[in-house]
C-alpha cells in the first residue's frame, strides 16, 4: 500500500503508531485551494513515483496508475508471488475518476484541433479501466480483470467481488483493491458540495465540518483455502464476511438513521458467523462530513446497543482516499489484528449531540483484536461493510 503516511505497509503502521497525520497542503495539484484546503498527498513527485513503481523513464503512466503499481508490487512481494502466471490470478481494481489527475491538465489541449503533442497519449487515460490495464500489463496479469466504481465504497466492493469469484470457484487467487490520486476535479467536486473542511478533519466530533481528500492505493491478495493449503501460503487474515446495501435515500447523503450502514454491518457480521460481542474494533468510514458521522454513528448504536466496540476513523491520517479507502482501511484492519492494536481517531475533542458513543482517541497497544468491521459508504447510497478476522487455520 501507499498513502500520505507511508510508502508501504510498514511505513503506514509506523505513522499510525506514532500518530503522524499525512494532512498538509498540496505540492503537486494546480489549484487555487493550494494553501486553503488541506489534503493527504503522497510525498513524492510523479517522476519519483515512476521510479518507485519500476517504470522509470517510461511515459504514459498516470499518477493513479503509478500509486497502484507501487502498492501492487508490494502486495505481490509480501505474498511471495514472483510470477503471477504460476497460478491463474485475477485482478479487480477500483477507481473513481481514473487518470483524471493527468488528463485534467491536458484536457483543453486534447480538445484543441490546433494543438498536437505528447499530451495525446493521455487520451486513453480518461477512463477508469486505463489504470487497471496498465497495472495488469506491467505485472503480467492475463486472467479475469475488472474495474469497479461505486464512489467511496469502490475498493470494498472490489474485495467483495473477488471473494465471491473465489467462493464460486471461478478463480483460486485474485488481487483486489483500489487506487486514487488527488485531482482538481474531485477537490472542486467535494468543495462545491461544501463537504471539505479547511482544517484537519474531525470525525465524530461535534465541531466537525467536512472531509479532507487524500490519495493512495492498496491491494490485497485473496486466495481460496485449497490454494492456501496447496502452496502453504502464509495467511495474514481472513475475510470472513461482507455485505453491500443501498440507502435508496438521496444521491449524496445517507439516511439520517443509518439504515444502509446498519444493514451492511449486520449482514456482513451475520455472514462471518460471529456476533456483536465478537467484534473488538470498527474502522469506521468516518469522513467527518455532517451527515456521514450522524448516520454511521446511529447505525453503530442500533447494531451494538450499549456494547459498541472501540471504533475510530483513520481518515485524519490518510484523508479520504475515495476509491482506495476501502482497501487501505481493510489493510489497517489486518494490521490491528496482527499487532493487537487499535488506532486512534485524531482531532476528536467533543462528542456529537446526536450520539452517546465517542471514538477511541488513544493508541491502544496490546488490545485483543480478533474481528474488525471495516466500513465504506459512498455517493449513490452505496454501502459496503467487511468483516476481517484473525485466521484460525
Amino acid at each position: 500500500m501507499i498513502t500520505a503516511i507511508g510508502d508501504d505497509v510498514a511505513g503506514n503502521l509506523h505513522s499510525l503508531r506514532s500518530q503522524q497525520s499525512g494532512l498538509g497542503f498540496t505540492n503537486h495539484l494546480d489549484t487555487i485551494y493550494k494553501t486553503i484546503l488541506p489534503v493527504a498527498e503522497v510525498k513524492h513527485t510523479t517522476p519519483q513515483l515512476r521510479e518507485m513503481a519500476g517504470v522509470a523513464g517510461i511515459d504514459g503512466y498516470t499518477r493513479t496508475t503509478l500509486l497502484g503499481l507501487i502498492a501492487m508490487r508490494e502486495a505481490l512481494a509480501q505474498a511471495g508471488i514472483t510470477n503471477v502466471q504460476d497460478e491463474p490470478t485475477g485482478f479487480i481494481n477500483a477507481s473513481t475518476v481514473g487518470g483524471m489527475c493527468d488528463t485534467e491538465n491536458v484536457y483543453f489541449d486534447i480538445m484543441d484541433p490546433g494543438k498536437t503533442g505528447d499530451f495525446l497519449k493521455f487520451i486513453d487515460t480518461l477512463d477508469c479501466a486505463d489504470c487497471t490495464q496498465r497495472i495488469a500489463d506491467t505485472i503480467g496479469f492475463t486472467e479475469h480483470i475488472a474495474t469497479i466504481s461505486t464512489a467511496c465504497s469502490s475498493s470494498a466492493n472490489a474485495l467483495m467481488y473477488g471473494a465471491r469469484l473465489i467462493k464460486a470457484g471461478i478463480t483460486r487467487r485474485i488481487i483486489c483493491g483500489g487506487t486514487e490520486a488527488l485531482t482538481r476535479f474531485t477537490l472542486n467536486g467535494f468543495n462545491s458540495l461544501k463537504n471539505i473542511d479547511k482544517r484537519p478533519c474531525r470525525p465524530f466530533d461535534q465541531q466537525r465540518n467536512g472531509l479532507n481528500l487524500g490519495e493512495g492505493a492498496a491491494y490485497m491478495v485473496l486466495e481460496s483455502e485449497s490454494l492456501v493449503r496447496e502452496n502453504n501460503s502464509k495467511v495474514i487474515a481472513e475475510l470472513s464476511g461482507y455485505a453491500n446495501t443501498n440507502e435508496a435515500f438521496h444521491p449524496t447523503s445517507p439516511s439520517p438513521e443509518g439504515d444502509g450502514a446498519f444493514a451492511a454491518m449486520r449482514d456482513a457480521l451475520a455472514m462471518s458467523g460471529h456476533t456483536i460481542a465478537d467484534v473488538q474494533y470498527v474502522n469506521v468510514h468516518g469522513t467527518a462530513t455532517l451527515s456521514n458521522d450522524v448516520s454511521e454513528g446511529k447505525a453503530l448504536q442500533r447494531l451494538f446497543g450499549t456494547m459498541v466496540p472501540l471504533f475510530s476513523s483513520t481518515k485524519p491520517f490518510t484523508g479520504h482516499t475515495l476509491a482506495a479507502a476501502g482497501a487501505i482501511e481493510a489493510i489497517y484492519a489486518v494490521l490491528a489484528i496482527q499487532n493487537q492494536v487499535v488506532f486512534p481517531n485524531l482531532n476528536f475533542t467533543e462528542g456529537m449531540e446526536e450520539l452517546y458513543i465517542t471514538p477511541e482517541t488513544q493508541l491502544r497497544e496490546g488490545y485483543p483484536v480478533h474481528h474488525v468491521i471495516s466500513n465504506s459508504f459512498g455517493f449513490g447510497g452505496n454501502n459496503a461493510s467487511l468483516v476481517i478476522s484473525k485466521y484460525e487455520g
Partner: protein, 340 residues
C-alpha cells in the same frame, strides 16, 4: 428487458421498424419521451445518460413485471460524459469558485445505479463496473453469482453515451474512420477505424425460465488481450458441445482489429454470422445491445430483414445464438444464448 439504441428498439413491433440511417460516423440514440417515466421536475435536473439509464431500467422492470429487483448491477465504460465534460469546463471557466455540484454528482459512474435504487426504494446489493468492453460483462457475471448465491432476480444493465466532444477526442487516436460514412454502408468501408455509437439496455435476470423469459444466458466468457491462439482455443472450448444456429458478431469494418474476427471465422466456418455494429455503432457496452438483440430474435423467432440487408437466407432454426464481440482488440467476449 428494454433497450434505447440508435434504432427504434424502445417500443413497438420491431419487425416493422425501418433501419435508422445516419452519417457522420456517429450514431445517436432514438430517445423516447421520458415524461412517461420520469416526472418533469426531476427530468430538468437530470443529464442525458441519467434519463436514458433510468428510463430503460424502469421500462425493463415494467416488462418483467417485477417492481423490486433483488439487486441492481450495471456496467458503463464512460459514465456521464456530458457531466464530466461540463464540470471540467466549469472548473476552468469559473476559476474553481461558486461551482454547481450537480455535474460532479452526476459524473460519478454509479449515479445511474443510485438513481434506480432511489426511484424503486431498492436497498439491496448495488454495484457498477467501469471496464471498457468488460463493463457490462462483469455486471452479467456479478448477476450470475448473485443468482447462484440465492437472489431471486437481478436487474442488470449497461449505459453509454457519445458526445461530440468525446467523439473528437477519440478521433485523435484513430478510433473512427477517416472517411465520412453512414451506418448502412459500414461493411463496405473496410478501413482503419469504425463508427461510434451509444445505447442503454437493461435485463431482468432470474435463476430459471418463466413464461415471460426471452432467452437463457447459457454461457459467458471474457478474454483479456488474448493471442489469436488463445482466442481460437477458448472459442472451441466455449462451444464444444453446442450446435450454433447463428453468430451475432461485433465486426465493425475496422482493419486495425479485424484479425480477431478472422480467427473466429476460421473456427466457425459454415455457421451463419450476422454483424450488429451497423445498428448500434461501437461503444464500451455494445455487448448489451447484442444480448438484447439475440434475446429478441430468440423470443420472436424473427430476423427483421430491413435491419439485416446482408442476410441471404434466414437460418433454418433459431435455437442457439453465439455472440462474439471485442472492444478495440482488448476485451473479448463470448456469450451463448439459448431459446426457452
Amino acid at each position: 428487458m428494454a433497450a434505447i439504441s440508435p434504432q427504434h428498439t424502445f417500443e413497438g413491433d420491431l419487425s416493422v421498424q425501418p433501419m435508422v440511417i445516419s452519417g457522420g460516423n456517429m450514431l445517436s440514440c432514438v430517445e423516447p419521451d421520458y415524461k412517461a417515466f420520469i416526472p418533469g421536475n426531476s427530468l430538468r435536473r437530470m443529464s442525458r445518460i441519467l434519463k436514458m439509464g433510468l428510463t430503460v431500467a424502469l421500462r425493463c422492470l415494467q416488462d418483467s413485471g417485477i417492481e423490486m429487483p433483488g439487486a441492481i448491477v450495471t456496467g458503463t465504460g464512460k459514465g456521464s460524459l456530458q457531466d464530466t465534460e461540463k464540470f471540467i469546463k466549469e472548473i476552468r471557466d469559473y476559476k474553481e469558485t461558486a461551482l454547481n455540484p450537480t455535474p460532479f454528482i452526476q459524473s460519478t459512474y454509479n449515479a445511474v445505479n443510485g438513481l434506480i435504487a432511489l426511484q424503486q426504494k431498492c436497498t439491496e446489493y448495488n454495484n457498477t463496473f467501469v471496464h471498457r468492453g468488460f463493463s457490462f460483462e462483469n455486471a452479467l457475471l456479478d448477476s450470475m453469482l448473485l443468482l447462484h448465491e440465492g437472489k431471486e432476480n437481478v436487474l442488470a444493465g449497461a449505459f453509454e453515451e457519445i458526445t461530440a466532444e468525446h467523439f473528437y477526442i477519440k478521433s485523435r487516436i484513430g478510433h473512427w474512420k477517416a472517411e465520412n460514412i453512414s451506418n448502412d454502408t459500414l461493411y463496405r468501408h473496410f478501413s482503419p477505424g469504425t463508427i461510434s455509437g451509444e445505447g442503454a439496455a437493461f435485463f431482468m435476470l432470474g435463476p430459471a425460465a418463466t413464461p415471460n423469459s426471452y432467452a437463457e444466458l447459457a454461457g459467458l466468457k471474457m478474454l483479456y488481450k488474448p493471442t489469436a491462439e488463445k482466442l481460437a482455443a477458448s472459442l472451441q472450448a466455449f462451444i464444444s458441445h453446442e450446435e450454433i444456429d447463428l453468430v451475432l458478431t461485433g465486426r465493425n469494418a475496422d482493419t486495425n482489429y479485424d484479425q480477431y474476427y478472422q480467427v473466429v471465422d476460421q473456427q466457425l466456418s459454415g455457421i451463419q454470422q450476422l454483424p450488429f455494429k451497423h445498428l448500434c455503432g461501437e461503444y464500451d457496452t455494445a455487448g448489451a445491445f447484442a444480448l438484447w438483440l439475440g434475446a429478441q430474435l430468440l423470443k420472436t423467432q424473427q430476423l427483421p430483414a430491413q435491419w439485416f440487408p446482408m442476410l441471404q437466407q434466414p437460418p433454418a432454426k433459431l435455437r442457439n445464438i453465439l455472440i462474439y464481440n471485442n472492444f478495440f482488440g482488448e476485451q473479448h467476449v463470448f456469450m451463448l444464448l439459448k431459446g426457452i
